[in-house]
Symmetry: C2
Subunit: 396 residues, 2 copies
């Protein structure tokens, strides 16, 4: 079938498309209340959008005491693909134009296998979603990668944990393979956009979104827009100094936050503790699985294991210290904690909160919520869909 070819012709149409995306179906009258246009002008633009096929009128809404209104909604066959490439797994999801997830697949993977192998897997996952009847094709795709991206070109730059990806034309390659427009961003930025669109950060203008997974990153939203920095590396807080003369880090320095707390560091510390006989719980898990991950630590902590709790608390303190500095600097209205390690839950959050509330300025922390992300593993793919829809729902 024919995919979305048209783009909004002007800012009004773009505005209307975003309103329909974020607010669901609406009558012309309801749209008129939210947009600063006369009824006549609005009708013209809606008609033009109907002509392009980007929106459709389906059926009449219930009467609100007068003539029944026509429901205007985004074309129901529109499909966006959201791809979230992590260090060790891939998430792929299909959404409709309202960015609701219609299907979602997660598969293990190793980014270090390089872009070619990873893309093959992404394409097969996308094909599987298509085959299940959720989409006949994609009108656009957003993709997040775990490293800095030159945003305008959609190309990763100098990604530390992604050897082989440096300079790979992700946007162009994926766009060719999928046959639709593609936008690329850092995975952390997409998580922030996801939480902004459908999660805890709705209606917050300035916020930070800290993602603790294999590494640590931070999405920065200023005035509703993601801040990517001069070279696309903004938010790369994993290598901020957390412990003077601390542990050696892969980056060559010592005491980086990531060397002291992250999925990888936690797994290593848990293994050490198990081998030193500090925790029977962890030791038995190590013996069973042959290795330990953050999930094991979470489980041990949930079971009340003191060592596991200590590790989490210690890591939360480190992370909280760094976040405290960022809060003083940036003065956000909200801090969201997300990523794989959020399984550590309340213990982690409490440690982070303690540090931030203790160390940052009262003025900056007085009304500052520090909360877990609401969307879990879907934040990234929703953010990815949002990224491409923002692009497509803007004037051509």
């Amino acid at each position: 079938m024919r995919r979305m070819t048209a783009r909004p012709a002007n800012a009004h149409q773009a505005r209307l498309l975003r309103l329909l995306r974020d607010g669901g179906p609406n009558s012309r009258a309801q749209l008129g209340d939210r947009v600063d246009l006369s009824r006549s002008k609005l009708a013209v633009e809606v008609d033009r959008l109907l002509e392009t096929g980007l929106v459709v009128a389906d059926g009449l809404a219930a009467s609100r005491g007068g003539r029944r209104s026509h429901n205007i909604r985004l074309a129901p066959q529109l499909r966006f693909l959201g791809v979230d490439i992590g260090a060790t797994s891939i998430d792929v999801a299909v959404t409709n134009a309202e960015l609701e997830i219609l299907g979602h697949i997660n598969q293990p993977m190793d980014v270090r296998d390089g872009p070619v192998a990873v893309f093959e897997q992404v394409l097969s996952m996308a094909a599987k979603l298509k085959a299940s009847g959720l989409a006949e094709g994609f009108d656009g795709a957003g993709i997040g990668v775990p490293g800095p991206v030159r945003f305008p070109e959609g190309v990763p730059v100098a990604p530390p944990i992604m050897p082989g990806w440096d300079g790979f034309p992700v946007r162009e390659a994926l766009s060719q393979d999928l046959g639709c427009p593609v936008m690329v961003d850092n995975d952390v930025n997409l998580m922030a956009m996801g939480e902004q669109h459908a999660g805890v950060a709705r209606s917050v203008g300035d916020f930070l979104c800290v993602k603790i997974g294999t590494g640590i990153g931070c999405g920065i939203v200023v005035g509703g827009e993601v801040h990517r920095g001069t070279t696309g590396s903004a938010g790369d807080i994993g290598h901020i100094l957390a412990v003077p003369d601390g542990r050696p880090c892969a980056c060559g320095n010592r005491g980086c936050l990531e060397a002291h707390f992250s999925g990888a560091a936690l797994a290593r510390d848990a293994k050490d503790a198990a081998q030193q006989g500090l925790s029977a719980e962890l030791a038995s898990r190590l013996e069973t699985n042959g290795t330990l991950t953050a999930v094991d630590v979470a489980a041990a902590a949930a079971a009340g294991d003191a060592t596991a709790l200590d590790l989490i608390r210690e890591g939360g303190n480190r992370t909280g210290q760094v976040i405290a500095g960022l809060v003083s600097f940036f003065n956000p209205g909200l801090v969201v904690i997300g990523g794989g390690v959020t399984g550590l839950g309340h213990t982690l959050l409490a440690a982070i909160r303690t540090q931030v509330y203790r160390q940052s300025l009262p003025l900056a922390t007085n009304n500052l919520p520090i909360v877990l992300g609401e969307l879990g593993p879907t934040a990234g793919v929703i953010g990815a869909a949002r990224l491409i829809s923002d692009h497509l729902f803007s004037p051509a």
Copy 2:
């Protein structure tokens, strides 16, 4: 005489006023090149501006191979007042509409005397500038205060070093006293705006401006706009943890950056060193003046005093460590170092650079200039003038 009463009627006029402010006098044709308008429309808007008196046509420019152009410039009698309130002194300056400084006064003062006493002094300084014939009145004033400000209302909030100023209606009071529109901001933000307008940060979209004076603060510019944060305390980096379990700070915590390096901390450390007999140079200065300030340390360092140099280097290292974290987080295109302590010059800058280049990500530091501010003590007042002119040169 009658002051500026008119405001630009639309975005085009505002754009033109800012072009004339930043680019100096221009012909209609030159303006047409910089603004996306047809010659006819441009002529209409320029004519309207001429009618309001905001701009004037004075004389003909030299020919560029054809008919000579009329020079269009901002009304020459327009005057802005820039006020920069520091912890220990006040700077007041008059500028023309192009934000060129026509007169500048600096006087010692203590913010802790409270807003009433300080305003009295500001008004007498403004009167002195008027009396010298530089201005017959002011069309607008910008004022910077050394603490967080609720920007929309122009009111300081919970300023640690300014007891008595909390909630004082600075904007309203000064506006009444001066009889012109007033805008209030944090002094550090104004310094950033000053360097952006006329200093080293011209044409840089994202940059940080670290001001080291009595305290330490940081102006944050994102996409050309100052980021003030949710409660107006963004950039308050003086209380970021620099030394775990370090020196007690006035804020109640330990190890804050400001407790280890700032004008106040440097003076204290220098005094300690002098009294412990570590430096003859500093000791003799202490005896002569009865006290020591950052200026003494700068002079001693310039004279080759090893203790003074050590103090500066140590402070620069601490500051550099904190800035390194901010650079990783924010990924700016430029870092400007300014404030009273810049008299410490190259030694300080070298220490900061070393830490940042060593600790931040290569991607973030590869093309990152770290430089001293270009405007010195005038950055604040220029920024203040810029603040109010941005306000006045925007659609009413």
